[in-house]
């Protein structure tokens, strides 16, 4: 999976490209570490090119969301596919994130 992080002022946009399965989550988690320690701003997770997410991916999303919450920042999940929206719904994640 490809992770492209683009920071402009206080808004950090993270483009996730490909499948966020369990092995991919391990990589993505490393990419997310700097974001977690500096989550006071707005983080936009651009999922327009993410085709799949497993529970380990959801964990990373949740960890980031928790970090942002503790630092006063916010996480926006953007452009999720219908299939992934289904997964978000099943897990109650629709209520935890701001979805755009």
């Amino acid at each position: 999976m490809e992770v492209i992080i683009n920071k402009e002022d206080s808004v950090t946009t993270v483009r996730l490209v490909g499948r966020l399965d369990t092995p991919a989550s391990q990589d993505v988690a490393q990419h997310f570490e700097p974001l977690m320690s500096d989550a006071a701003g707005t983080i936009v997770l651009d999922c327009s090119e993410m085709s799949y997410i497993s529970s380990s991916g959801l964990r990373i999303f949740l960890s980031l969301r928790k970090a942002a919450a503790s630092q006063g920042g916010k996480v926006i999940v953007k452009s999720i596919s219908d299939d992934i929206r289904q997964v978000f719904m099943m897990t109650g994640f629709l209520n935890l994130f701001e979805i755009q």
């Binding site: 391990q26 964990r59 960890s63 299939d83």
Partner: protein
């Protein structure tokens, strides 16, 4: 309230019935007694009348004897009198002869008709008996007597034949009652010449008539042609009063006049004279011929009916006593009936409550057949026909994670305790089997619970099975129950180790057995209510008959009905002694021929996960799944496999994960197995997805997603392997 009202109504009803009964009994008794009374009275009156008539006849005969004697004495002397007419002096001799030769004749005269003998204008020599037995001759031809004017002289001449005079008191001859018989005597030329008489004493009449006593208080009366009372018990009346005179002063004059007229007209008959309000006098009368007399016998009705009246009094008293006793008996019977009905009501209520309790238990077990109408792979039928008393039979079944859990059981004994134990057993089965898939574990756990609390020494024979619907693999465990029958290519008893019934031995280890069922195989579970059903001659239905019924291949429902009918026909009119419980399971999973399998073997390396995506893609292509469903299945499979890769094997060691996909037209099943340490992911607590960001745990979503996506998920540990099966209906 309602009950006590019912009781009151009942009491009223039975009291009413009692009263009615008493009235009917009283009326019947009274009617019987009345009929008897009246018919007896009629018979008694008839008898009295017969007795009176026969007495009248015999008395009359005796009178007639004497009368005839007197008449004969007179008649026999007519010829000699006629012969002596020309020699008047000899007439006295004739008269004497009559007296001397006839003891009843007290005196006799031959009185010449005045003018017949020119020399003797009046001539009447009279011979009479004296007190000393000799005879005395007198002459009646005196101025002052003037015999031609006397009745005894004139009447026979008027009539021209023999005449009995009115009785009279003979003042000259000792004040005795007399009557005179007189006949006219003609001379050879046919002229009336004299009147020949015989005075007959009627003393004997008083004795004769006075002694006629058909009943102690009955009496007889003799009256003359003109109604003079000749003989009666009342001395003063005799020869002093006529019956007509007496009738005027008597009670019930009207009827008395009828009597007087009847007697005076010389007829026979009877009259009833009212004496007082309660007393009547029955009078039977008959004429005494020739003399013109009439004799009557009077009988007070108390004489006739006295006995029957005393009897009827006694009968009435007895009847009253009987009725009283009847009332007492009925009252106590009514009381008893009330008691009995109260007891019965209590018993009914209890039985009703038991039945309700039992029905509640029965309602918990599946009773609607077919139980799984949407499933084509199973055909089931079951029934419990309860015996009179609530019993302790049970069966139960349900499907969880594509496994059919089923059981049948028979609690020892009957009634409430059995039915309670049945409820407990059934509820234990549900509770325990919710977490256990092994029949052996289910049976063991139920046994532990039941042995612990079993203070009443109740036990349950129990058979438990778990049928894997997808594979037809059957695992079962028996606890002392009749072995079920299994229908494969033949029909036989399922080999079942008996073990011990539930509730006997805590810590008992039960043995589990298994077999594989294929398409169209079936099981028949039953309680001994089937095999031990008895007919009127106490013969048992038995296993042979049971097997006979099952010879034919039929649906479960048809089998059930056939068996019920066979048992019912066999039992006939006998009371069913035990619950009749049957459970048919017909396995009809024919997926095997259509199945396709795909296999994927992974190492316990997380980097192998992407292979799952390819695996799913192949399958999705093959069975034409849409992309969304494919992604969901991928997710579920990944979560399950990740679990194994991460946790089953010790870190750093190499292990395999076997992923098997079984595809059929209506479902897709994944079986994930590994040889790692025992781990049941389905035992994990359910994730709470409603929690907020702060409270939400990071993990725990994997198995949650698996459950969400798949229709059934089950785990088992077999042969050192963790086997997780997941099915998705298509």
């Amino acid at each position: 309230m309602e009950i006590s009202d019912n009781l009151k109504t009942l009491a009223r009803k039975s009291a009413g019935t009692g009263l009615l009964l008493i009235v009917v009994a009283a009326v019947t008794l009274e009617a019987t007694s009345l009929i008897q009374y009246f018919s007896s009275q009629r018979m008694l009156k008839q008898e009295a009348s017969l007795r009176a008539e026969s007495e009248l006849r015999s008395t009359r005969n005796q009178i007639m004897d004497i009368v005839d004697q007197a008449e004969a004495a007179v008649h026999n002397s007519i010829w000699i009198t006629r012969w002596c007419l020309d020699y008047p002096d000899s007439l006295a001799v004739v008269a004497r002869r009559i007296v001397e030769e006839n003891p009843s004749v007290m005196g006799s005269t031959i009185a010449l008709v005045p003018g017949y003998n020119k020399k003797l204008p009046l001539f009447a020599p009279y011979v009479c008996r004296t007190a000393d037995g000799t005879t005395e001759l007198k002459s009646l031809a005196t101025e002052e007597y003037n015999y031609p004017a006397q009745e005894w002289f004139t009447e026979p001449l008027n009539y021209g034949f023999g005449y009995w005079s009115e009785p009279y008191i003979d003042e000259g001859g000792g004040e005795v009652l007399m009557t005179t018989y007189s006949v006219p005597v003609m001379d050879d030329a046919g002229r009336v010449a004299a009147v020949l008489t015989a005075d007959v004493s009627l003393d004997w009449l008083t004795d004769l008539v006075g002694n006629v006593r058909v009943y102690p208080d009955a009496f007889s009366v003799l009256v003359s042609r003109e109604g003079k009372i000749m003989v009666s018990p009342v001395e003063e009346l005799n020869m002093h009063q006529s019956i007509q005179e007496f009738a005027t002063g008597a009670k019930d004059t009207a009827n008395f006049n009828v009597l007087a007229d009847g007697m005076l007209s010389g007829k026979a008959g009877n009259v009833s004279l009212k004496q007082s309000r309660r007393e009547r006098l029955f009078v039977f009368y008959a004429p005494v011929e020739k003399t013109g007399w009439s004799m009557a016998i009077a009988i007070p009705d108390s004489e006739i009916y006295g006995e029957i009246r005393r009897m009827s009094m006694l009968v009435t008293i007895l009847m009253l006593v009987g009725l009283g006793m009847l009332i007492l008996i009925l009252r106590s019977a009514a009381k008893n009936q009330l008691k009995v009905s109260q007891l019965k009501e209590k018993k009914d209520r209890m039985e009703n409550e038991l039945r309700i309790g039992h029905n509640i238990q029965m309602s918990m077990i599946p009773k609607i057949f077919p139980p799984f109408p949407e499933r084509k792979d199973i055909d089931m039928a079951a029934t419990i026909v309860p015996a009179k008393e609530v019993g302790g039979d049970l069966y139960d079944f349900y499907i969880r994670d594509e496994k059919l859990f089923f059981c049948i059981g028979d609690v020892s004994g009957k009634g409430v305790p059995a039915s309670l134990v049945m409820a407990v057993t059934r509820s234990l089965f549900r509770t325990v089997s919710a977490h256990e898939k092994s029949p052996q574990r289910i049976v063991t756990l139920i046994n532990e619970s039941m042995s612990d609390m079993n203070e009443n020494e109740m036990f349950v024979t129990f058979f438990c099975g778990v049928l894997d619907m997808t594979t037809g693999h059957l695992r079962y465990c028996n606890a002392g129950h009749n072995p079920p029958m299994v229908f494969t290519d033949k029909i036989e008893f399922l080999p079942a180790i008996p073990n011990l019934p539930l509730g006997i031995l805590p810590g008992m280890s039960f043995q589990e057995q298994e077999m594989d069922l294929s398409y169209d195989n079936a099981l028949f579970l039953y309680t001994d209510g089937v095999t031990e059903a008895e007919n009127l001659t106490h013969e048992q239905f038995g296993e042979a008959r049971m097997q006979d019924v099952l010879r034919m291949r039929r649906s479960s429902q048809e089998n059930l009905e056939a068996m019920q009918k066979a048992v019912a026909d066999f039992v006939g009119a006998a009371d069913p002694s035990d619950d009749l419980t049957m459970l048919f399971i017909h396995y009809l999973n024919d997926m095997q021929p259509d199945e396709t399998e795909r296999h994927l073997i992974l190492h316990n390396d997380i980097q192998q996960i992407p292979q799952l995506a390819e695996f799913i893609e192949t399958i999705a292509d093959e069975i034409k799944l849409d992309q969304g469903l494919a992604m969901s299945l991928n997710l579920a499979l990944e979560e399950a496999v990740t679990n194994v890769i991460l946790y089953a094997y010790p870190e750093g060691s190499d292990g395999l994960v076997d992923v098997e996909a079984i595809m059929s037209k209506d479902k897709l099943k994944f079986i994930i197995s590994d040889s790692g340490k025992e781990f049941d992911p389905t035992a994990a607590p359910e994730a709470d997805i409603t929690l907020g960001v702060e409270d939400r745990p990071i993990g725990g979503l994997g198995i949650y997603l698996v459950r969400k996506i798949m229709d059934s998920v089950s785990y088992e540990r077999t042969d050192g392997k963790n086997i997780l099966s997941m099915t998705k209906k298509l």
